[in-house]
Amino acid sequence: MEHGSFTDNSAATFSLTDEDHTIANAVRFNLNQDPRVTFCGYSIPHPSEARVNIRVQTTGDPAREVLKDACQNLMLMCRNVRCTFDKAVEDFKASNAVKAMKIDSQDSSGDDSEESE
């Protein structure tokens, strides 16, 4: 739901239902990073009602487009986070497996030397 003026679409308030700080703060952060934005913020009118108002004011571009771009950026950021995280977990598991193998081989070589004596 968008509340804006018909003549000037560079400033608008978007009212989202069934949302809370989780998505609103993340989107607000991304909006701030965009150089076309002069002002952005979010508020929760009442804590018992799951509704968030996001206010966007831009330097001329339509506010709707800027918000959409911010959401796209957030999505791409999330995908990046996921890829990096998966790779880090795989690397960690692989290096742990190597360490476990090294410890095993050290143990077995220790046993051999004892037997030979």
């Binding site: 989202l16 989780t22 993340a26 957030l74 999330c78 986070v81 995280f85 790779k87 880090a88």
Partner: protein, 358 residues
């Protein structure tokens, strides 16, 4: 693109923890914040992907600790909120009690059963909608039938007494139709078309509660409990029993800076002050000097800046974009899968917003 002068860079990237309160806690996100100095504070996606790193410190079956470097507090907090509140899990919701002569009341018993964590991957099930019938795609059926015979000592009913019924409910509904033929299957409270045992994931791992020694009830001689419990998918926003993590939290990386050289007696004093031993004394030729050995262990107790003059010698900071995440799973999913699912849920939310805006 120039660099910020050091005092501004400190203000932008570190939280200074002073004796009374921390300062510079807000993250400076506005793209034009340093425009008057000619520096572009806007973060492009390519800069983010170049700077962002994840380092796993510890990874067990039930918990993990990892570092996220290069991300902002807003996104890290979103992940934490989703991990706690919006990841779906399976938990017992409906309990059909056939017989309960124990001293534990029906509702208390049902409440305790709901809180038992179940070791099953919730992604294999669909969420149950209002008027849906419970079938093999959205319900797990457990049976509990314990009896304490007269003359035998008291028994404790633990969570390993919950038996999984892969074929659905065994309690028969009373049909008013007396002329129903005996060859048709009697109608039960669930409508399973096929046994859940045929699903390949459950062939080797039957569905059981994660911890077999959770005390559910205690029975005296002559008391009996007979019930069927249905577990469905839900999220923690509805009730805490559907929480996939015991908890998940993050803290920013602590940084301890020695503003001047601390030598000899002062060094010994500093080392003895710190309760987590993060300072070490190194021996130079003509004296001893204190160094910071383990800044990551700092709990920010501020003992090292207590007392006169210590604030001039030691500075405590927190790095604003380095988060040490810890996730403790309740057992349904391993912690690294939990985090990946949380990120996917944030992506889905963004996508929903984009489709609504178009």
């Amino acid at each position: 693109m120039g660099q910020l002068p050091p005092h501004l860079e400190l203000q932008r990237s570190r939280v200074s923890c002073n004796k009374d309160a921390p300062i510079h806690t807000e993250s400076i996100q506005y793209s034009g914040a340093y425009a008057s100095m000619g520096i572009d504070n806007s973060s492009r996606l390519d800069r983010f992907s170049n700077n962002f790193r994840v380092e796993v410190v510890r990874l067990n079956e039930d918990d993990m600790e990892f570092d996220m470097i290069g991300i902002d507090a807003a996104i890290a907090n979103s992940f934490r909120r989703i991990l706690i509140a919006e990841l779906p899990t399976m938990a017992i919701e409906k309990v059909l009690i056939a017989n309960n002569t124990s001293i534990i009341q029906d509702e208390v018993l049902a409440h305790r059963l709901g809180l038992v964590p179940i070791r099953v991957d919730p992604r294999l099930f669909l969420a149950i909608v209002e008027n849906d019938q419970p079938n093999e795609k959205n319900t797990i059926v457990f049976k509990l039938h314990v009896q304490c015979k007269r003359g035998s000592p008291r028994i404790t009913v633990k969570s390993d007494a919950l038996k999984w019924l892969p074929n659905g409910s065994e309690l028969v509904k009373e049909t008013r139709n007396a002329t129903s033929d005996s060859s048709s299957k009697p109608e039960t409270y669930t409508y399973f078309c096929c046994s859940q045992e045929t699903i390949p994931e459950f062939v080797k791992n039957p569905i059981i509660p994660k911890y077999p020694d959770i005390i559910i009830a205690k029975l005296g001689p002559g008391q009996e409990i007979e019930l069927e419990a249905y577990a469905v998918k839900g999220i923690r926003k509805t009730h805490a029993k559907w929480s996939p993590v015991a908890t998940a939290w993050y803290r920013m990386l602590p940084e301890v800076v020695l503003l001047e050289d601390i030598e000899d007696d002062l060094a010994e004093e500093l080392k003895s002050k710190c309760p987590v031993n993060l300072f070490d004394i190194e021996d130079l030729g003509k004296g001893r000097r204190a160094t910071v050995a383990r800044p990551r262990a700092c709990t920010l107790c501020r003992e090292c800046i207590r007392g006169d003059d210590w604030e001039k010698r030691v500075a405590l900071h927190r790095v604003k974009d380095h988060f040490i995440f810890t996730i403790e799973s309740t057992g349904a999913l391993p912690p690294e899968v939990l985090f990946t699912e949380a990120v996917k849920i944030l992506e889905d939310k963004c996508e929903r917003m984009i489709t609504e805006l178009s």
